[in-house]
């Protein structure tokens, strides 16, 4: 028996492209704009969301039959906040260095609309295993866009990738900078992320015209 049925596999694969949370569902845009100035921050955020959304989706899915619909948003918020605080506290006690790196992301994860969005749209109506796959798929789809945006912003804005200088040294003018190339400071600020995300959406829709909505 296959580990994943065809439907299960599509739960993971669809959000990577044709149902991408950022470019199609327009969820999680805020963090995609805020923290993609560096590739490293993008990767850390993608991994953190993978954990929280995977586990959160399962928890919400298990609770789906007992959550009163009138206060379901608050319940979802409390579940995700509790999960994130538990992880943060445990890391602070046992992996302090790691927690220093992640602490900045804690607030961003709790308020990340991709998490609330998937709880609301999927986990409340589906079983735990499907919800887990949906969580993994969506956070991977989210992560891919974050990494694409982080890649271009760090490369063009700072001339580095994952902190390593790849284009030479902009101050002592070595490598590409010797030819008169300059870093584009605009790429570092959040509006540049909006433009990069816009270009990704444009490319994606021009390749698959079925994604374009009718007016």
């Amino acid at each position: 028996m296959a580990l994943l049925t065809k439907k299960d596999a599509s739960l993971i694969l669809d959000p990577l492209a044709d149902n991408n949370p950022i470019t199609i569902q327009v969820l999680g845009i805020c963090s995609a704009l805020a923290i993609t100035a560096e590739l490293k921050a993008s990767v850390v955020m993608a991994i953190s969301v993978l954990f929280v959304l995977g586990i959160g989706n399962v928890v919400i899915s298990l609770m789906r039959n007992i959550i009163p619909s009138k206060i379901r948003i608050i319940v979802q918020l409390i579940v995700v906040a509790t999960l994130v605080i538990i992880v943060d506290q445990v890391l602070k006690a046992f992996a302090y260095e790691l927690s220093k790196t992640l602490s900045v992301f804690v607030g961003l994860i709790i308020t990340n609309c991709i998490i609330m969005g998937r709880f609301e749209a999927f986990a409340l109506a589906n079983g735990p295993w499907q919800s887990f796959l949906d969580g993994i798929g969506n956070s991977l789809g989210y992560g891919i866009i974050l990494i694409i945006v982080g890649f271009f912003r760090e490369l063009l804005g700072s001339g580095t990738l994952y902190g390593f200088p790849v284009l030479g040294n902009p101050i002592s003018k070595t490598g590409l900078y010797a030819t008169g190339y300059e870093n584009n400071g605009f790429m570092i600020i959040p509006p540049a992320a909006l433009i990069v995300v816009g270009i990704v959406i444009w490319i994606q829709r021009s390749r698959n015209t079925a994604l374009i909505e009718d007016n």
Partner: protein
């Protein structure tokens, strides 16, 4: 048995139970881990203070590397010769001074009390370091750090940290390439305690001019940078009277 989740009474009961359960779990977790967390924070402070006076494991131009936590306590007592608490004109020695909470002291000062100012005197190879703790505001939340001065008020090293500055932008104040620029700068302009400004467009990206009270700013992090400037000048001015007594003129 199907539960009617639409009833008001169910909603109220559900909410109450959830609050109690979540509250209990978090309270239990916080109280059982708090000692371990406090211990980690204490060691981190020692690491940061030593880092500012150049006791660290930095290699080349790479990333920040502290003294490992299992060695830091002994290194701290080896290099930090004195810890002072300055309260107005009164100066007392206290080897727990590094645990003073600057935020609480700032609040106390606002309420008209005399604030306790901790100061650490380090000694490395016969050179004296006067290490001042700092605390200020970044873009989103608190920033803090330590600055190590010699007796001519020239910065020997700094360490900055932050609560929640933006990753990749303001968060870069704790990167080597930013902090290393401060070394060699004087906090004095003439006889005035001017601090060091994080300046845009000072046209000195390699930071070769060490007497201009300026270092090159971080792109995209103007407000955090301004916060660092304000923090340094406010902090050194709090210690002005003491620093005047030890300054070599």
């Amino acid at each position: 048995m199907a539960i009617n989740t639409e009833k008001n009474s169910y909603t109220v009961i559900f909410a109450s139970v959830m609050v109690v359960v979540v509250g209990t779990v978090l309270a239990f977790l916080a109280s059982s881990l708090s000692e371990k967390i406090k211990e980690n924070e204490r060691l981190e402070k020692q690491q940061n203070i030593l880092y500012a006076m150049g006791i660290n494991k930095n290699e080349g131009e790479g990333s920040v590397s502290f003294i490992p936590t299992d060695e830091v306590a002994s290194e701290f007592s080896k290099y930090i010769k004195e810890q002072l608490i300055i309260e107005g004109d009164k100066i007392t020695k206290d080897d727990q001074a590094y645990l003073i909470d600057l935020k609480k002291q700032a609040t106390a000062a606002k309420n008209g009390e005399t604030r306790k100012l901790p100061l650490f005197i380090g000694d490395k190879d016969g050179n004296k370091f006067y290490i001042i703790p700092m605390r200020g505001k970044g873009l989103w939340d608190a920033i803090w750090g330590f600055v190590a001065l010699d007796d001519r008020m020239v910065v020997q090293g700094v360490y900055f940290d932050h609560a929640t500055e933006t990753p990749g932008l303001g968060a870069n104040i704790k990167q080597r390439y930013f902090m290393d620029d401060f070394s060699g700068e004087s906090i004095l302009a003439g006889t005035k305690y001017a601090g060091i400004a994080v300046a845009k467009g000072n046209n000195d990206p390699l930071n070769q001019t060490k007497d201009d009270n300026e270092v090159d700013a971080l792109a995209g992090a103007t407000i955090t940078g301004n916060g660092v400037s304000a923090m340094i000048s406010e902090s050194v001015n709090l210690y002005k009277d003491y620093l005047e007594t030890i300054r070599v003129k």
